[in-house]
Assembly symmetry: C2
């Protein structure tokens, strides 16, 4: 089964974490929560879902994992100011291993400067940011381009989870 890193901090969109996490665990995959500081508990924006951070980004390397999940909400905005998180995301995208992105998650890839020439979707507030980063924004429930699997919002979660699950071994 796969070891999935979840890059997450406060104000994540609850369902964009809980639903993929539940599906991945049910399928036997292991989740490791990577954030700004290990041992702290972060919370979702709307329901306050608690998530314990297993490792700070500076303590992990891409080789330790098989796939990456980045939930949306305002968590990506808070994570993209941290150089260790940005470095981890950049190396993950460049590794070719599956990267599952939803909602505001593309913000992290913009800061990591790894979107040029890629096809992606995301929350509609990011459309111009995604285009300015040199990517093609596609308005559909799931966009797959190489190792990037992206969706727009909680309404796309079923299709998102289905597409991501197919990439996990």
């Amino acid at each position: 089964m796969s070891k999935v890193a979840v890059v997450i901090t406060d104000m994540f969109e609850d369902s964009e974490y809980t639903q993929p996490a539940e599906a991945f665990k049910k399928a036997g995959h292991q989740l490791i929560h990577v954030g700004l500081k290990s041992g702290v508990t972060v919370k979702g924006e709307k329901q306050g879902t608690p998530v314990k951070i297993d490792k700070a980004a500076q303590e992990v390397k891409v080789g330790d994992f098989d796939a990456l999940l980045i939930p949306g909400g305002y968590s990506p905005d808070k994570l993209r100011v941290d150089d260790h998180v940005v470095r981890f995301v950049k190396e993950f995208v460049e590794s070719g291993k599956p990267v599952c992105l939803i909602c505001h998650a593309p913000q992290l890839l913009i800061t990591a400067q790894v979107l040029k020439g890629r096809k992606i979707t995301g929350w509609k507030s990011l459309i111009q940011d995604i285009k300015n980063a040199g990517a093609e924004f596609i308005d559909q429930e799931v966009v797959e381009d190489g190792n990037l699997i992206s969706s727009r919002s909680p309404a796309d979660l079923s299709a998102f989870i289905r597409a991501c699950s197919k990439k996990l071994k």
Copy 2:
């Protein structure tokens, strides 16, 4: 005195609204709160400061005002998906009238596609978005470029208010 439009919705950074608003009103300027829907009360992210929306963006035009203030927080992310708000901000920037921006406010100017060739500052999470939009990001407490006056965060508020106040007649 000046009529200042404040473009705002839920999850604004409280102090980035309350402190400029207090200073502008004390100097005799009039504030008109422009948002997604008139008559509703929106709230700040951390202190829950209530702000009544006077006009929806579709009900106003730049000619009705002398200056624009855009507080930060997550309010700009929520406003930039509304075509009327984006049109209003775009026309304001192009009018040459003062536009006061702090923290996440540049996100609205990115969606409005009016940042190319401009000098600006803002919250550090936006640095790559601002550069990708063709603007020059400058890391200082206030950046003035023509009619654009911008600051980074609540820590810059004193300098921000001083710079903006000078532009109001």
